[in-house]
Symmetry: C2
Subunit: 222 residues, 2 copies
Protein backbone atom coordinates (compact mmCIF):
# COMPACT_ATOMS: atom_id res chain seq x y z
CA UNK A 1 0.00 0.00 0.00
CA UNK A 2 1.32 3.44 -0.86
CA UNK A 3 2.39 5.87 1.80
CA UNK A 4 -0.27 8.22 0.56
CA UNK A 5 -2.94 5.64 1.21
CA UNK A 6 -1.75 4.65 4.59
CA UNK A 7 -1.59 8.23 5.82
CA UNK A 8 -4.78 9.66 4.42
CA UNK A 9 -8.05 8.57 5.96
CA UNK A 10 -10.58 7.02 3.61
CA UNK A 11 -12.55 9.71 1.88
CA UNK A 12 -16.31 9.67 1.37
CA UNK A 13 -17.96 10.17 -1.99
CA UNK A 14 -21.41 9.81 -3.50
CA UNK A 15 -22.23 8.56 -6.99
CA UNK A 16 -25.65 8.66 -8.60
CA UNK A 17 -27.16 6.31 -11.14
CA UNK A 18 -29.65 8.63 -12.83
CA UNK A 19 -32.42 6.89 -14.74
CA UNK A 20 -35.01 8.20 -17.14
CA UNK A 21 -37.22 6.58 -19.74
CA UNK A 22 -37.23 7.92 -23.26
CA UNK A 23 -39.36 6.52 -26.05
CA UNK A 24 -39.86 3.22 -24.28
CA UNK A 25 -36.19 2.74 -23.43
CA UNK A 26 -34.70 2.85 -19.98
CA UNK A 27 -31.62 5.05 -20.03
CA UNK A 28 -29.06 6.21 -17.58
CA UNK A 29 -26.74 9.16 -17.61
CA UNK A 30 -22.99 8.76 -17.84
CA UNK A 31 -20.29 11.40 -17.75
CA UNK A 32 -16.90 11.22 -19.32
CA UNK A 33 -13.97 11.75 -17.00
CA UNK A 34 -11.64 14.54 -17.95
CA UNK A 35 -8.58 14.02 -15.82
CA UNK A 36 -6.48 11.34 -14.26
CA UNK A 37 -5.67 7.78 -15.13
CA UNK A 38 -9.26 7.13 -16.15
CA UNK A 39 -9.49 10.02 -18.58
CA UNK A 40 -12.16 9.55 -21.25
CA UNK A 41 -13.74 6.64 -19.38
CA UNK A 42 -17.45 6.79 -18.65
CA UNK A 43 -18.78 6.87 -15.11
CA UNK A 44 -21.74 7.97 -13.03
CA UNK A 45 -21.66 11.55 -11.82
CA UNK A 46 -20.43 11.94 -8.26
CA UNK A 47 -17.89 13.49 -6.01
CA UNK A 48 -16.61 13.91 -2.50
CA UNK A 49 -18.88 14.62 0.42
CA UNK A 50 -18.03 17.84 2.22
CA UNK A 51 -17.62 18.07 5.94
CA UNK A 52 -20.89 18.93 7.57
CA UNK A 53 -22.88 17.87 4.53
CA UNK A 54 -25.67 15.30 4.42
CA UNK A 55 -25.12 12.42 2.04
CA UNK A 56 -28.33 13.18 0.17
CA UNK A 57 -27.32 16.80 -0.15
CA UNK A 58 -23.97 15.82 -1.55
CA UNK A 59 -25.68 13.59 -4.11
CA UNK A 60 -28.01 16.41 -5.14
CA UNK A 61 -25.18 18.91 -5.29
CA UNK A 62 -23.09 16.71 -7.54
CA UNK A 63 -26.06 15.94 -9.73
CA UNK A 64 -26.86 19.62 -9.96
CA UNK A 65 -23.36 20.60 -10.87
CA UNK A 66 -23.18 18.11 -13.71
CA UNK A 67 -26.73 18.15 -15.03
CA UNK A 68 -28.32 21.38 -13.85
CA UNK A 69 -31.05 19.36 -12.11
CA UNK A 70 -32.21 20.93 -8.89
CA UNK A 71 -34.35 18.03 -7.74
CA UNK A 72 -34.77 14.35 -8.41
CA UNK A 73 -36.03 11.32 -6.58
CA UNK A 74 -33.04 9.97 -4.69
CA UNK A 75 -32.59 6.68 -2.94
CA UNK A 76 -29.50 5.31 -1.31
CA UNK A 77 -28.47 1.95 -2.74
CA UNK A 78 -25.29 0.57 -1.31
CA UNK A 79 -21.87 1.68 -0.16
CA UNK A 80 -18.82 0.52 -2.03
CA UNK A 81 -15.66 0.49 -0.01
CA UNK A 82 -12.98 -1.54 -1.73
CA UNK A 83 -9.82 0.48 -1.03
CA UNK A 84 -8.63 -0.24 -4.59
CA UNK A 85 -11.81 0.83 -6.31
CA UNK A 86 -10.31 4.23 -7.10
CA UNK A 87 -6.69 4.33 -8.28
CA UNK A 88 -6.20 7.69 -6.60
CA UNK A 89 -6.68 6.30 -3.12
CA UNK A 90 -9.16 4.91 -0.67
CA UNK A 91 -12.55 6.41 -1.44
CA UNK A 92 -15.68 4.97 0.09
CA UNK A 93 -18.57 5.69 -2.22
CA UNK A 94 -22.22 5.80 -1.26
CA UNK A 95 -24.19 4.91 -4.39
CA UNK A 96 -27.58 6.45 -5.09
CA UNK A 97 -30.30 5.81 -7.56
CA UNK A 98 -31.85 8.97 -9.00
CA UNK A 99 -34.98 9.20 -11.13
CA UNK A 100 -36.36 11.94 -13.33
CA UNK A 101 -39.30 12.07 -15.68
CA UNK A 102 -37.73 13.81 -18.62
CA UNK A 103 -34.18 13.21 -19.83
CA UNK A 104 -34.40 16.54 -21.65
CA UNK A 105 -34.09 18.36 -18.34
CA UNK A 106 -30.42 17.50 -18.20
CA UNK A 107 -28.00 20.19 -19.36
CA UNK A 108 -24.49 19.58 -20.68
CA UNK A 109 -21.92 19.53 -17.89
CA UNK A 110 -20.16 22.72 -16.86
CA UNK A 111 -16.51 21.95 -16.23
CA UNK A 112 -15.84 18.87 -14.20
CA UNK A 113 -16.56 16.38 -16.94
CA UNK A 114 -15.77 16.25 -20.63
CA UNK A 115 -19.26 15.20 -21.67
CA UNK A 116 -22.47 13.63 -20.49
CA UNK A 117 -24.72 11.31 -22.43
CA UNK A 118 -27.76 9.09 -21.97
CA UNK A 119 -27.10 5.42 -22.65
CA UNK A 120 -29.56 2.64 -22.96
CA UNK A 121 -29.19 0.53 -19.85
CA UNK A 122 -28.78 -2.61 -21.89
CA UNK A 123 -25.95 -1.08 -23.90
CA UNK A 124 -23.61 0.63 -21.51
CA UNK A 125 -20.02 1.27 -22.48
CA UNK A 126 -17.25 -0.05 -20.21
CA UNK A 127 -17.43 1.89 -16.96
CA UNK A 128 -14.72 3.30 -14.71
CA UNK A 129 -14.16 2.26 -11.10
CA UNK A 130 -16.68 -0.29 -9.88
CA UNK A 131 -19.50 1.56 -11.58
CA UNK A 132 -20.73 -1.48 -13.43
CA UNK A 133 -21.56 -2.98 -10.04
CA UNK A 134 -23.48 0.16 -9.18
CA UNK A 135 -25.38 -0.04 -12.44
CA UNK A 136 -26.36 -3.65 -11.80
CA UNK A 137 -27.38 -2.89 -8.27
CA UNK A 138 -29.45 0.13 -9.26
CA UNK A 139 -31.30 -1.71 -11.99
CA UNK A 140 -32.09 -4.61 -9.72
CA UNK A 141 -33.46 -2.26 -7.07
CA UNK A 142 -35.52 -0.30 -9.56
CA UNK A 143 -37.08 -3.44 -11.00
CA UNK A 144 -37.92 -4.76 -7.58
CA UNK A 145 -39.47 -1.54 -6.32
CA UNK A 146 -41.73 -1.19 -9.32
CA UNK A 147 -43.57 -4.19 -7.98
CA UNK A 148 -44.43 -2.96 -4.53
CA UNK A 149 -44.12 0.83 -4.43
CA UNK A 150 -45.38 3.82 -6.36
CA UNK A 151 -41.82 4.67 -7.37
CA UNK A 152 -42.87 4.93 -11.01
CA UNK A 153 -44.33 8.39 -10.42
CA UNK A 154 -40.81 9.74 -10.50
CA UNK A 155 -40.35 8.62 -14.07
CA UNK A 156 -43.57 9.97 -15.53
CA UNK A 157 -45.11 13.38 -16.09
CA UNK A 158 -47.81 14.37 -13.61
CA UNK A 159 -50.53 13.24 -16.00
CA UNK A 160 -50.21 10.19 -18.21
CA UNK A 161 -52.11 7.41 -19.89
CA UNK A 162 -52.21 3.78 -19.00
CA UNK A 163 -50.29 3.00 -22.16
CA UNK A 164 -47.45 5.23 -20.98
CA UNK A 165 -47.39 3.58 -17.60
CA UNK A 166 -47.36 0.14 -19.15
CA UNK A 167 -44.58 1.12 -21.55
CA UNK A 168 -42.57 2.36 -18.56
CA UNK A 169 -42.95 -0.90 -16.71
CA UNK A 170 -42.14 -2.93 -19.79
CA UNK A 171 -39.05 -0.84 -20.48
CA UNK A 172 -37.71 -1.30 -16.99
CA UNK A 173 -38.62 -4.94 -16.56
CA UNK A 174 -37.37 -5.71 -20.04
CA UNK A 175 -40.39 -7.74 -21.05
CA UNK A 176 -43.86 -7.10 -22.42
CA UNK A 177 -46.81 -7.08 -20.06
CA UNK A 178 -50.35 -8.23 -20.54
CA UNK A 179 -52.43 -5.12 -20.82
CA UNK A 180 -55.50 -6.40 -19.00
CA UNK A 181 -53.63 -8.00 -16.15
CA UNK A 182 -51.41 -4.96 -15.80
CA UNK A 183 -54.34 -2.59 -15.62
CA UNK A 184 -56.09 -4.73 -13.04
CA UNK A 185 -53.03 -5.01 -10.87
CA UNK A 186 -52.17 -1.34 -10.93
CA UNK A 187 -55.72 -0.24 -10.30
CA UNK A 188 -55.90 -2.79 -7.51
CA UNK A 189 -53.04 -1.04 -5.78
CA UNK A 190 -55.20 2.06 -5.56
CA UNK A 191 -52.39 4.43 -6.41
CA UNK A 192 -53.94 6.16 -9.37
CA UNK A 193 -56.65 8.76 -9.85
CA UNK A 194 -58.46 8.85 -13.13
CA UNK A 195 -58.96 12.37 -14.43
CA UNK A 196 -62.06 13.50 -16.25
CA UNK A 197 -60.02 14.88 -19.13
CA UNK A 198 -58.94 12.64 -21.99
CA UNK A 199 -55.92 12.80 -24.15
CA UNK A 200 -57.09 13.53 -27.67
CA UNK A 201 -55.13 12.65 -30.76
CA UNK A 202 -55.35 10.75 -33.97
CA UNK A 203 -57.02 7.80 -32.34
CA UNK A 204 -59.44 6.83 -29.64
CA UNK A 205 -59.03 9.24 -26.72
CA UNK A 206 -57.15 7.77 -23.76
CA UNK A 207 -58.16 8.25 -20.16
CA UNK A 208 -55.64 10.31 -18.23
CA UNK A 209 -54.39 9.39 -14.79
CA UNK A 210 -52.22 10.84 -12.12
CA UNK A 211 -50.69 9.28 -9.03
CA UNK A 212 -52.89 9.87 -6.01
CA UNK A 213 -49.79 10.59 -3.92
CA UNK A 214 -46.51 11.71 -5.36
CA UNK A 215 -44.72 10.70 -2.21
CA UNK A 216 -42.84 7.48 -1.61
CA UNK A 217 -45.28 4.79 -0.62
CA UNK A 218 -45.08 1.09 -0.07
CA UNK A 219 -48.01 -1.10 -0.96
CA UNK A 220 -48.67 -3.63 1.73
CA UNK A 221 -48.58 -7.01 0.12
CA UNK A 222 -49.69 -8.84 3.26
Amino acid sequence: MSIRNSLARPRVAVDSVLFAVERGRLKCLLVQLQRGALRDKWAFPGGLVRTGEQLDDAAIRELHSTTGLSRAYLEQLFTFGDPRRDPRGHVVSVAYMALIADPGEVQPPAGKYAASQWFEVSRLPPLAYDHQLMADYALRRLKAKLGYTNIAYNLLPKVFTFAQLEELYAAILGRPLDRRNFRRRILGMGLLRELSAKRRGRHRPAALYRFARRVPQVIEVL
Copy 2:
Protein backbone atom coordinates in the same frame (compact mmCIF):
# COMPACT_ATOMS: atom_id res chain seq x y z
CA MET B 1 -20.17 24.47 12.38
CA SER B 2 -17.06 24.13 14.47
CA ILE B 3 -13.62 24.74 13.05
CA ARG B 4 -12.77 21.18 13.80
CA ASN B 5 -15.66 19.99 11.70
CA SER B 6 -15.01 22.24 8.77
CA LEU B 7 -11.36 21.29 8.54
CA ALA B 8 -11.50 17.55 9.05
CA ARG B 9 -12.93 15.42 6.27
CA PRO B 10 -15.84 13.19 7.16
CA ARG B 11 -14.57 10.00 8.73
CA VAL B 12 -15.86 6.55 7.87
CA ALA B 13 -17.06 4.08 10.46
CA VAL B 14 -18.87 0.78 10.57
CA ASP B 15 -21.45 -0.32 13.15
CA SER B 16 -22.88 -3.81 13.46
CA VAL B 17 -26.27 -4.90 14.70
CA LEU B 18 -25.49 -8.39 15.92
CA PHE B 19 -28.49 -10.68 16.29
CA ALA B 20 -28.87 -14.06 17.88
CA VAL B 21 -31.83 -16.06 19.10
CA GLU B 22 -31.85 -17.40 22.60
CA ARG B 23 -34.65 -19.48 24.07
CA GLY B 24 -37.13 -18.25 21.50
CA ARG B 25 -36.25 -14.58 21.88
CA LEU B 26 -34.55 -12.46 19.28
CA LYS B 27 -31.73 -10.54 20.92
CA CYS B 28 -29.12 -8.09 19.85
CA LEU B 29 -25.84 -7.14 21.37
CA LEU B 30 -25.21 -3.69 22.79
CA VAL B 31 -22.06 -2.24 24.25
CA GLN B 32 -21.78 0.48 26.82
CA LEU B 33 -19.68 3.47 25.86
CA GLN B 34 -16.82 4.26 28.18
CA ARG B 35 -15.67 7.70 27.15
CA GLY B 36 -16.93 10.97 25.84
CA ALA B 37 -20.21 12.82 26.04
CA LEU B 38 -22.16 9.60 25.58
CA ARG B 39 -20.47 7.73 28.41
CA ASP B 40 -22.58 4.89 29.80
CA LYS B 41 -24.98 5.01 26.88
CA TRP B 42 -25.66 1.82 24.95
CA ALA B 43 -24.77 1.45 21.29
CA PHE B 44 -23.91 -1.12 18.65
CA PRO B 45 -20.26 -2.09 18.45
CA GLY B 46 -18.34 -0.29 15.74
CA GLY B 47 -15.45 1.95 14.93
CA LEU B 48 -13.51 3.78 12.29
CA VAL B 49 -12.49 2.17 9.03
CA ARG B 50 -8.76 2.14 8.46
CA THR B 51 -7.17 3.31 5.29
CA GLY B 52 -6.75 0.45 2.87
CA GLU B 53 -9.31 -1.65 4.71
CA GLN B 54 -12.43 -3.21 3.23
CA LEU B 55 -15.68 -2.20 4.90
CA ASP B 56 -16.57 -5.81 5.68
CA ASP B 57 -13.14 -6.36 7.18
CA ALA B 58 -13.56 -3.33 9.38
CA ALA B 59 -16.91 -4.62 10.57
CA ILE B 60 -15.40 -8.02 11.38
CA ARG B 61 -12.42 -6.45 13.07
CA GLU B 62 -14.58 -4.29 15.30
CA LEU B 63 -16.85 -7.20 16.11
CA HIS B 64 -13.88 -9.35 16.92
CA SER B 65 -12.30 -6.79 19.19
CA THR B 66 -15.47 -6.36 21.23
CA THR B 67 -16.90 -9.87 21.21
CA GLY B 68 -14.07 -12.25 20.36
CA LEU B 69 -16.04 -13.51 17.37
CA SER B 70 -13.86 -14.37 14.43
CA ARG B 71 -16.65 -14.92 11.96
CA ALA B 72 -20.29 -14.07 11.53
CA TYR B 73 -22.72 -13.62 8.71
CA LEU B 74 -22.43 -9.98 7.69
CA GLU B 75 -24.64 -7.92 5.45
CA GLN B 76 -24.44 -4.24 4.72
CA LEU B 77 -27.63 -2.41 5.56
CA PHE B 78 -27.48 1.31 5.02
CA THR B 79 -25.13 4.20 5.42
CA PHE B 80 -25.95 6.93 7.89
CA GLY B 81 -24.38 10.25 7.12
CA ASP B 82 -26.02 13.00 9.13
CA PRO B 83 -23.08 15.25 10.08
CA ARG B 84 -24.61 15.73 13.52
CA ARG B 85 -25.16 12.05 14.25
CA ASP B 86 -21.95 11.93 16.30
CA PRO B 87 -21.23 14.84 18.66
CA ARG B 88 -17.51 14.42 18.10
CA GLY B 89 -17.67 15.34 14.45
CA HIS B 90 -18.81 14.25 11.05
CA VAL B 91 -18.68 10.47 10.94
CA VAL B 92 -20.35 8.58 8.13
CA SER B 93 -21.32 5.17 9.39
CA VAL B 94 -21.94 2.09 7.29
CA ALA B 95 -24.35 -0.08 9.24
CA TYR B 96 -24.19 -3.87 9.08
CA MET B 97 -26.38 -6.66 10.23
CA ALA B 98 -24.48 -9.58 11.77
CA LEU B 99 -25.89 -12.97 12.68
CA ILE B 100 -24.58 -15.76 14.85
CA ALA B 101 -26.10 -19.01 16.01
CA ASP B 102 -25.12 -18.95 19.64
CA PRO B 103 -25.06 -15.85 21.82
CA GLY B 104 -22.78 -17.73 24.18
CA GLU B 105 -19.92 -17.33 21.72
CA VAL B 106 -19.62 -13.68 22.66
CA GLN B 107 -16.92 -12.82 25.19
CA PRO B 108 -16.93 -9.77 27.47
CA PRO B 109 -15.28 -6.77 25.80
CA ALA B 110 -11.56 -6.16 26.23
CA GLY B 111 -10.99 -2.46 26.72
CA LYS B 112 -12.87 -0.22 24.37
CA TYR B 113 -16.25 -0.58 26.01
CA ALA B 114 -17.40 -0.72 29.59
CA ALA B 115 -19.69 -3.69 29.08
CA SER B 116 -21.62 -5.69 26.54
CA GLN B 117 -24.99 -7.28 26.95
CA TRP B 118 -27.67 -9.07 24.98
CA PHE B 119 -31.01 -7.26 24.93
CA GLU B 120 -34.31 -8.48 23.69
CA VAL B 121 -35.03 -6.62 20.51
CA SER B 122 -38.42 -5.54 21.73
CA ARG B 123 -36.94 -4.08 24.91
CA LEU B 124 -33.92 -2.05 23.95
CA PRO B 125 -32.68 0.71 26.23
CA PRO B 126 -32.29 4.22 24.78
CA LEU B 127 -29.48 4.09 22.25
CA ALA B 128 -26.66 6.52 21.48
CA TYR B 129 -26.20 8.29 18.14
CA ASP B 130 -28.77 7.26 15.56
CA HIS B 131 -28.51 3.64 16.57
CA GLN B 132 -32.22 3.24 17.08
CA LEU B 133 -32.61 3.88 13.37
CA MET B 134 -30.06 1.19 12.68
CA ALA B 135 -31.90 -1.22 14.94
CA ASP B 136 -35.18 -0.58 13.15
CA TYR B 137 -33.58 -0.95 9.78
CA ALA B 138 -31.81 -4.16 10.70
CA LEU B 139 -34.91 -5.78 12.10
CA ARG B 140 -36.95 -4.86 9.07
CA ARG B 141 -34.32 -6.32 6.77
CA LEU B 142 -34.01 -9.50 8.78
CA LYS B 143 -37.76 -10.07 8.80
CA ALA B 144 -37.99 -9.50 5.09
CA LYS B 145 -35.11 -11.79 4.19
CA LEU B 146 -36.48 -14.68 6.23
CA GLY B 147 -39.22 -14.88 3.65
CA TYR B 148 -37.17 -15.28 0.51
CA THR B 149 -33.65 -16.40 1.45
CA ASN B 150 -32.00 -19.11 3.47
CA ILE B 151 -30.58 -16.48 5.83
CA ALA B 152 -31.91 -18.40 8.82
CA TYR B 153 -29.02 -20.87 8.61
CA ASN B 154 -26.83 -18.24 10.23
CA LEU B 155 -28.94 -18.25 13.35
CA LEU B 156 -29.14 -22.00 13.89
CA PRO B 157 -26.70 -24.78 14.68
CA LYS B 158 -25.74 -26.97 11.73
CA VAL B 159 -28.32 -29.56 12.70
CA PHE B 160 -31.72 -28.67 14.09
CA THR B 161 -35.32 -29.75 14.31
CA PHE B 162 -38.30 -28.25 12.60
CA ALA B 163 -39.53 -27.00 15.93
CA GLN B 164 -36.33 -25.03 16.38
CA LEU B 165 -36.65 -23.52 12.94
CA GLU B 166 -40.24 -22.59 13.55
CA GLU B 167 -39.40 -21.05 16.89
CA LEU B 168 -36.71 -18.99 15.18
CA TYR B 169 -39.12 -17.66 12.58
CA ALA B 170 -41.75 -16.93 15.18
CA ALA B 171 -39.25 -15.09 17.36
CA ILE B 172 -38.09 -12.87 14.53
CA LEU B 173 -41.45 -12.23 12.96
CA GLY B 174 -42.98 -11.67 16.36
CA ARG B 175 -46.01 -13.85 15.75
CA PRO B 176 -46.89 -17.52 15.99
CA LEU B 177 -46.88 -19.61 12.83
CA ASP B 178 -49.07 -22.48 11.79
CA ARG B 179 -46.96 -25.58 12.10
CA ARG B 180 -48.31 -27.42 9.09
CA ASN B 181 -48.27 -24.48 6.75
CA PHE B 182 -44.81 -23.51 7.89
CA ARG B 183 -43.45 -26.96 7.28
CA ARG B 184 -44.98 -27.11 3.84
CA ARG B 185 -43.63 -23.73 2.83
CA ILE B 186 -40.10 -24.35 4.05
CA LEU B 187 -39.89 -27.79 2.53
CA GLY B 188 -41.29 -26.35 -0.68
CA MET B 189 -38.33 -24.01 -0.86
CA GLY B 190 -36.09 -27.04 -1.05
CA LEU B 191 -33.45 -25.61 1.24
CA LEU B 192 -33.34 -28.37 3.80
CA ARG B 193 -31.97 -31.88 3.92
CA GLU B 194 -33.50 -34.34 6.30
CA LEU B 195 -30.94 -36.41 8.14
CA SER B 196 -31.42 -40.03 8.99
CA ALA B 197 -30.55 -39.44 12.61
CA LYS B 198 -33.21 -38.33 15.06
CA ARG B 199 -32.95 -36.21 18.11
CA ARG B 200 -33.78 -38.39 21.06
CA GLY B 201 -35.06 -37.07 24.31
CA ARG B 202 -37.91 -37.34 26.70
CA HIS B 203 -40.52 -37.38 23.95
CA ARG B 204 -41.14 -38.56 20.47
CA PRO B 205 -37.86 -38.30 18.53
CA ALA B 206 -37.70 -35.32 16.19
CA ALA B 207 -36.35 -35.53 12.66
CA LEU B 208 -33.14 -33.57 12.25
CA TYR B 209 -32.44 -31.28 9.35
CA ARG B 210 -29.61 -29.24 8.02
CA PHE B 211 -29.53 -26.53 5.37
CA ALA B 212 -28.59 -28.01 2.02
CA ARG B 213 -26.35 -25.03 1.36
CA ARG B 214 -24.89 -22.87 4.07
CA VAL B 215 -24.20 -20.10 1.60
CA PRO B 216 -26.38 -17.06 0.93
CA GLN B 217 -29.12 -18.02 -1.47
CA VAL B 218 -32.20 -16.32 -2.79
CA ILE B 219 -35.27 -18.36 -3.51
CA GLU B 220 -36.78 -17.39 -6.80
CA VAL B 221 -40.34 -16.38 -6.13
CA LEU B 222 -41.16 -15.99 -9.83
